[in-house]
Symmetry: C2
Subunit: 120 residues, 2 copies
């Protein structure tokens, strides 16, 4: 399934590329929050925070339920799982020392043009 749906990942990673929005997600990890509550930690207008909320919503990272005059937001884990899975593809690059060794060897090979017959 290697990168079959690039559009969602674009939106998800873009949304995650902003500390304001990441902080909002952290807060939402503690349960439902209203837009006002999400905006509260930031020194910006509510309208600006509202745009960040919308960015998260567009990326599918949160869902919104309008209850009376307040909009309750909750975390939507699916896209986070997708992003996590995408990154997981590279996991062996930082986990296994054998893979690391293998990478270094491949690197060394490309540095010495003629690998000079496997042995003998």
């Amino acid at each position: 399934m290697v990168e079959s749906n690039p559009a969602p990942l674009d939106a998800v990673f873009h949304a995650l590329g902003d500390a304001t929005r990441r902080r909002m997600l952290r807060d939402l990890a503690g349960g439902e929050r209203s837009v006002g509550q999400l905006a509260e930690p930031f020194a910006m207008s509510l309208a600006a925070a509202s745009k960040h909320v919308k960015a998260l919503e567009n990326a599918g990272l949160i869902r919104r339920e309008v209850r009376g005059r307040t909009h309750l937001c909750r975390l939507e884990p699916g896209p986070l799982a997708s992003a996590h899975e995408w990154l997981g593809f590279y996991e062996h690059f930082w986990t296994s020392r054998l893979d690391e060794l293998e990478r270094l060897l491949r690197e060394a090979d490309s540095k010495t043009p003629p690998p000079r017959g496997d042995d003998r």
Copy 2:
């Protein structure tokens, strides 16, 4: 260590928020590649691709070694691991059905103001 170094994550997630750069990383997962090789799959000028490479470099996702007239790039797994780890914080939101149930209950609670004594 909850979000202690936001600047790098900004750059990393921003870099990942573009399908061109994600494709470059995929190619680099197969070993070293020159800037020209990384640019080859795309219908854009080499200069444009070069900018993408620089974005990856600025995010620490790749390292570059100038060999003669070609710039060899290789994957730098550290920042990918950081991003993966950041996302891992949310893992229980999509893995455990119990956590999912818990979330739904919390949600139900907030919907019915008086949760009406834990049992009895």
